[in-house]
């Protein structure tokens, strides 16, 4: 990745985004994105962990989970194509809990030195 702009452009390969452009992402760029994701989840592990933990105890008020969920929905509404069925599913309160928990859990399990291989395997078998 030569610079941040390249990463920013690569995000447009996501078909859920409003600004979706099919640029045919190269394998090397796909690998680079996985490596960045693994590095980010390693760095953010304490936060990811806290978000997961705040949802575990149903009796306690899960403030962290609510804040995270609220911000995620804001970002989805701002940047994703709201006409897409998959985006609608992400915004559905009853359905998105499972998607979010599993995504966070996947990231939290890929923070080891072999996290890159693990995440790649998870994505290929998704």
């Amino acid at each position: 990745m030569p610079n941040k702009i390249t990463i920013w452009k690569l995000r447009n390969n996501n078909p859920l985004r409003k600004s979706y452009v099919n640029n045919n992402i190269k394998l090397i760029e796909f690998d680079a994105l996985i490596k960045i994701t693994v590095e980010m989840s390693r760095y953010l592990y304490p936060y990811i962990r806290e978000i997961l933990k705040s949802k575990e105890d149903l009796e306690k008020n899960s403030v962290i989970w609510k804040d995270f969920n609220k911000r995620l929905i804001e970002l989805i509404k701002e940047r994703f194509n709201l006409d897409s069925m998959r985006v609608k599913k992400l915004l559905n309160q009853t359905e998105n809990d499972e998607i979010i928990v599993k995504s966070l859990l996947t990231l939290s399990l890929c923070i080891s030195n072999k996290g890159y291989e693990k995440l790649k395997n998870f994505l290929f078998e998704f």
Binding site: D57, V101, T106, S108, L109, N113
Partner: protein
């Protein structure tokens, strides 16, 4: 003097005690012969067991987490450990003792402790200072997961050699047809009979 190594991840720590294998000229600080292991999860009972139990317990956690992420039914059952999801956030672990009349240890852990535990196991697997013998892996994998482990390459490697062998036999046996002349053989038999 035994070596002790600890792997930490947030609320979980894994202690490994053992000796290097001097017969392989290993370093003093290496652990190849594990004599004791302890998995300490904050606010939960201490988990420890026999040396041969560590591998299967680690595999159970790995297989279970894979099932969980891949949207398959998250249930792992074996003679030693059962892991089942209570709901999306809580996992029920039953550790069965190999000793008679000992009640199984039941633990409930959330996603945060599950990921801490697996990250501790990852650290142990990736550590150059500890060598673990991988035992009892394929025995305890549920059928659904086996397909994932024995991927396409493995299946091809398993199926192709017998096919090559069969085709080679056919090819060889068809080559023998050129040496075999049924008319000549008939004449020979007639000659023997006339004698």
């Amino acid at each position: 003097m035994q070596n002790k190594l600890s792997f930490h991840q947030s609320s979980v720590s894994l202690d490994i005690v053992g000796l290097p294998d001097y017969s392989n000229n290993e370093n003093k600080d290496q652990i190849s012969i594990i004599s004791q292991w302890k998995l300490n999860i904050v606010n939960k009972p201490l988990i420890e067991g026999k040396i041969e139990h560590l591998g299967p317990i680690m595999n159970a956690f790995y297989i279970y987490s894979n099932l969980l992420i891949k949207n398959e039914i998250p249930i792992y059952e074996s003679e030693l450990i059962d892991i089942k999801a209570d709901n999306l956030h809580i996992h029920n672990i039953v550790l069965k003792s190999s000793k008679p009349n000992v009640k199984p240890l039941i633990l409930k852990i959330g996603n945060s402790l599950l990921s801490d535990t697996i990250n501790c196991f990852d650290q142990l697997n990736e550590s150059s200072k500890v060598r673990i013998k991988k035992t009892g892996f394929s025995k305890n994998i549920p059928k659904k997961v086996r397909i994932g482990v024995f991927n396409k390459e493995n299946i091809i490697n398993f199926v192709i050699p017998p096919f090559i062998a069969i085709f080679t036999l056919i090819l060889l046996s068809s080559a023998f047809i050129y040496f075999h002349n049924p008319i000549e053989n008939k004449e020979k038999i007639e000659q023997i009979n006339s004698k």
